[in-house]
C-alpha cells in the first residue's frame, strides 16, 4: 500500500458535498457537461474528446458500468483487432531479428571498397565494348534482313485485377463520420487496414506478389 501523498490527489478531489447541499452555477455547469458525456457512454457512443477535468470521472463511471453490466466486443471489431495485432507482431519479429544467411561470405568493407576501385576501369571498358559490338551487330542485321511485319496488336487486353487487389479510395469502407466519432480515427484505420490486409493475403497466396 503506497503512503498517502497529498500532492498525488487530483485538484477537485476535495470533500464531496452532501447530497442535498445547494449547488452553485459552476457545479451545475460541470454536472450538466458530465451528464451529457454519460448520455453518450450509455448510448454506446463513447465521446471522442473529453475535457481533462471530466476524464477521470468518466473513466470511473465507465469502469463501474463495465464491471456490472455485460460488455460486448463486436465480432468485426474483434477480428480487426486480432488481424492488426498479428500483423504488428509478425512485422516486429521480422524487423527485430534481421538475420543474414550464414552461407554468404562476409568481406570487410575496407577491402571490398579497394577491390571495387581496382576493377572499375576494366569494367567500364568491357561494358563500353559490349555495347558497341551489340549496336554494330543490330545495324548489320537490320541492313541485311527483310523487315519483319509488325506484331499484331494484342486482341485481348490483360485481364484487369479484381477490385480488392487494386488501389482504391477508402470512403466506401469508412462511410460518413459523425461528429462525435471524429476523434476515433483508430477504428477507421483498423477497418481500412483489415480490408487491405485481406487483399495482400489474397495476392500473396495466389503467387502474384513478386
Amino acid at each position: 500500500m503506497r503512503p498517502d501523498d497529498p500532492t498525488d490527489l487530483p485538484p477537485d478531489d476535495d470533500a464531496v458535498p452532501a447530497p442535498d447541499a445547494p449547488a452553485d452555477a459552476s457545479e451545475r455547469a460541470r454536472a450538466k457537461a458530465f451528464a451529457e458525456l454519460i448520455d453518450k457512454v450509455v448510448a454506446g457512443r463513447p465521446p471522442a474528446a473529453v475535457p481533462s477535468e471530466q476524464q477521470e470521472l468518466l473513466e470511473v463511471a465507465t469502469a463501474l458500468r463495465a464491471s456490472v453490466r455485460p460488455v460486448e466486443l463486436g465480432a468485426s471489431r474483434r477480428s480487426a483487432i486480432v488481424e492488426s495485432a498479428l500483423a504488428a507482431a509478425i512485422d516486429r519479429r521480422a524487423g527485430g531479428h534481421g538475420r543474414v544467411s550464414a552461407s554468404l561470405p562476409v568481406v570487410p568493407i575496407g577491402r571490398a571498397a579497394a577491390r571495387r576501385g581496382a576493377r572499375t576501369p576494366w569494367l567500364i571498358a568491357a561494358t563500353t565494348s559490349l555495347v558497341a559490338a551489340a549496336a554494330l551487330t543490330l545495324w548489320l542485321r537490320d541492313r541485311g534482313a527483310p523487315r519483319a511485319a509488325p506484331p499484331a496488336p494484342a486482341t485481348a487486353a490483360a485481364a484487369p485485377l479484381p477490385l480488392e487487389l487494386r488501389s482504391r479510395p477508402a470512403d466506401p469502407l469508412v462511410g460518413a463520420i459523425p461528429a462525435e466519432r471524429a476523434g476515433a480515427a483508430l477504428d477507421r484505420i483498423d477497418t481500412i487496414y483489415a480490408d487491405r490486409l485481406d487483399g495482400f493475403r489474397a495476392r500473396t497466396m495466389s503467387g502474384g506478389l513478386r
Partner: protein
C-alpha cells in the same frame, strides 16, 4: 455474462496451436486470439481503463505482444489465458502511468496484480473471466453500500439501470438539473471511496 468467445478450444488443441506458433507459424495464434480477446476486453481491460478506445488499443497491444513473445510461454497444462491476462494488466499500468493520473486512483482501478494461484481453478478461461467479473462486482457493490443512499440510488438508476436522466429525476422527485448534480457528486464520492480503500 462475459462476451462469448469465437469458438471453444480444447486444451490439447490449444497446446498444439501454441507449439505451432513457437515453431514459427505465428498465424497459428489466430484462433487463440479470437477466443480470448472478448473476455480480456470485457473483464480485464475495460473495467480497469474505463475508456473503450484505450481499451481496444491495449487489447491490440496485448495480443501483439503475446504473439511476438510466444517463445517465452511455457505450456503447463492449463490455458494460456492467465499469461495473456498478466500482459494486459502490465499494459494497463503503463497506460495509467503515462496518463500521469492520480497514482492512487490508477492503483485502485488496476487493482490486484497478483494472479490466481490454483492451476486447476484457472484451467478454464471463461471460468476465470466469470470469477474476475464476480470479484469486480463485489468490489463495486461493497463500495456502493458505503455511499450515502441518494448517491447509491443515482448510480444504480443511471449507470447500472441505464434509465434516462428524465426518468431518474422523476423517480427521485427532483429536477433533471438537480439529478445531474446528484449523479456528478455520486461518481465523485464513488471515486473518492475507491482510492481510499
Amino acid at each position: 455474462m462475459v462476451s462469448e468467445p469465437a469458438s471453444e478450444l480444447p486444451l490439447d488443441e490449444e497446446a498444439r496451436l501454441i507449439r505451432q506458433a513457437q515453431g514459427g507459424d505465428l498465424d497459428a495464434m489466430r484462433p487463440l486470439l479470437e477466443r480470448y480477446a472478448p473476455p480480456l476486453y470485457a473483464t480485464v481491460i475495460l473495467p480497469r481503463l474505463g475508456n473503450a478506445v484505450s481499451a481496444e488499443e491495449v487489447l491490440r497491444d496485448t495480443l501483439a505482444t503475446a504473439v511476438e513473445k510466444i517463445d517465452r510461454f511455457t505450456w503447463q497444462g492449463k490455458t494460456i489465458y492467465p499469461w495473456l491476462r498478466q500482459i494486459a494488466i502490465n499494459k494497463i499500468f503503463d497506460v495509467h502511468r503515462s496518463a500521469k493520473r492520480s497514482r492512487r486512483l490508477a492503483d485502485a482501478m488496476a487493482h490486484e496484480v497478483a494472479t490466481e494461484t490454483d492451476p486447476e481453478s484457472s484451467a478454464d478461461a471463461l471460468l476465470m473471466a466469470d470469477q474476475e467479473r464476480a470479484r469486480q462486482r463485489a468490489l463495486i457493490e461493497s463500495t456502493l453500500t458505503d455511499l450515502p443512499e441518494r448517491y447509491r440510488t443515482a448510480i444504480e438508476l443511471r449507470l447500472i439501470g441505464e434509465l434516462s436522466r428524465d426518468e431518474c429525476a422523476r423517480r427521485l422527485q427532483i429536477s433533471v438539473g438537480a439529478f445531474d448534480v446528484l449523479l456528478h457528486r455520486a461518481v465523485r464520492a464513488f471515486r473518492k471511496h475507491v482510492v481510499s480503500l
